[in-house]
């Protein structure tokens, strides 16, 4: 196994920021489509949400594989131990949700009994039985996980900003510039 590097490599940083914007955008789009008045003119937004969500699922898997190849560095020292533990737990939760949120969305869409189409033409296989009861349960799961994701992201961002603005210890800088 390669020795952990001193900083974040370019692939790790690009993945982090592309996915961060992608996830927040997909969250906003999901929350919007779930509440809009659906008609012919905006039906495509469901497809957009699924398409970007599926791309994010693929990127999350690529990110996990990449971290196996090039492990990210450990945290910069400074904060008390409980904060370090919290940050580690938050990172683990973020990975679980990077997989769990899109998979639950895919399952929820499958349970509708309609084809799950991404990029306007690619039909994903159904990963849940077509049933209104299953769809309702999975809709609740996808919604719950998505909002839980937002909560963990806010905690994560608060921690990053605390170190960037409060401690000024270079944590944010090394995720931005390496």
């Amino acid at each position: 196994m390669a020795a952990p590097r001193a900083g974040f490599g370019l692939p790790t940083r690009v993945l982090h920021w592309v996915m961060a914007f992608g996830i927040l955008g997909t969250f906003a789009l999901g929350a919007y489509v779930a509440r809009m008045e659906v008609g012919l003119g905006n039906l495509w937004l469901f497809g957009l949400h699924k398409t970007i969500g599926a791309v994010l699922l693929a990127l999350a898997m690529a990110r996990i594989v990449w971290h196996g190849i090039a492990p990210p560095p450990g945290p910069l020292p400074g904060p008390p131990e409980w904060q370090m533990t919290l940050a580690r737990a938050a990172h683990r939760a973020l990975y679980a949700l990077m997989l769990g949120v899109p998979v639950s969305g895919w399952a929820r869409a499958s349970a509708s009994g309609l084809d799950v189409v991404i990029f306007g033409r690619l039909t994903l296989p159904a990963i849940a039985p077509a049933s209104p009861a299953v769809e309702d349960a999975l809709a609740l799961l996808h919604r719950g996980l998505a909002w839980g994701f937002l909560a963990v992201i806010l905690l994560h961002v608060a921690g990053a900003l605390k170190r960037a603005i409060g401690a000024r210890d270079g944590t944010l800088r090394r995720m931005l510039r390496g």
């Binding site: 008045e37 659906v38 008609g39 012919l40 003119g41 039906l43 009994g113 309609l114 084809d115 077509a130 209104p132």
Partner: protein, 193 residues
């Protein structure tokens, strides 16, 4: 799509009635499936979803002298239903709406035919998803272009009606798609006997 079509009826445009030669009994007609459509329409947010279903079978008998002796029996192919966009067609045929895999046809059998001014009212039994409910269609008969007044051998019938899909248990996507389904049928028929 050549087979879209169907239902029908009888009715009597007053003009047709007056100029009709004396007719002893009901005339039987066959449906020109290539020139007829069984269409429907429902609300989808600010828009509409339209669609159609092909006719499997249509038996029509019209007695212009005595409308009440007329009858109509029609079967539609639910498995070949079409809708204005792909998701709607899939949803329509799927288990939450028509459940075409279990109930491949939609049928209408007239029970009573009445005159309604220039038009006819057809009370009958509509079966969707295996659930049978009373339904009424309103029919207006027209002479086809190029035929002589009084020629009853080829006619065009416009039928309209509405149903509530929830009455038949076809409740899928009721949060997005309207409950009322409006039916619009253009039937071009030719006399066979």
């Amino acid at each position: 799509m050549r087979r879209r079509t169907f239902l029908t009826t009888l009715s009597a445009a007053a003009g047709v009635l007056c100029t009709a030669p004396a007719i002893a009994a009901a005339r039987h007609y066959s449906l020109d499936t290539t020139q007829s459509t069984v269409g429907f329409e429902t609300d989808f947010g600010p828009d509409k979803i339209t669609g159609s279903m092909p006719v499997i079978r249509a038996d029509l008998a019209i007695d212009f002298r005595n409308l009440a002796a007329s009858s109509v029996s029609v079967a539609l192919d639910a498995t070949a239903a079409r809708a204005s966009f792909p998701f709607a067609a899939q949803a329509l045929k799927g288990p939450r709406v028509l459940d075409a895999a279990t109930y491949p046809s939609v049928t209408f059998e007239s029970r009573a035919v009445r005159r309604e001014g220039d038009e006819a009212g057809i009370d009958g039994l509509l079966t969707i998803r295996g659930v049978t409910r009373p339904a009424t269609l309103h029919a207006a008969i027209y002479r086809q272009a190029g035929t002589d007044p009084g020629d009853l051998s080829r006619l065009t019938i416009h039928l309209t009606g509405a149903l509530r899909r929830s009455d038949f248990g076809a409740t899928g996507w009721s949060d997005l798609v309207g409950d009322e389904v409006r039916i619009r049928i253009v039937a071009r028929i030719a006399q066979v006997a």
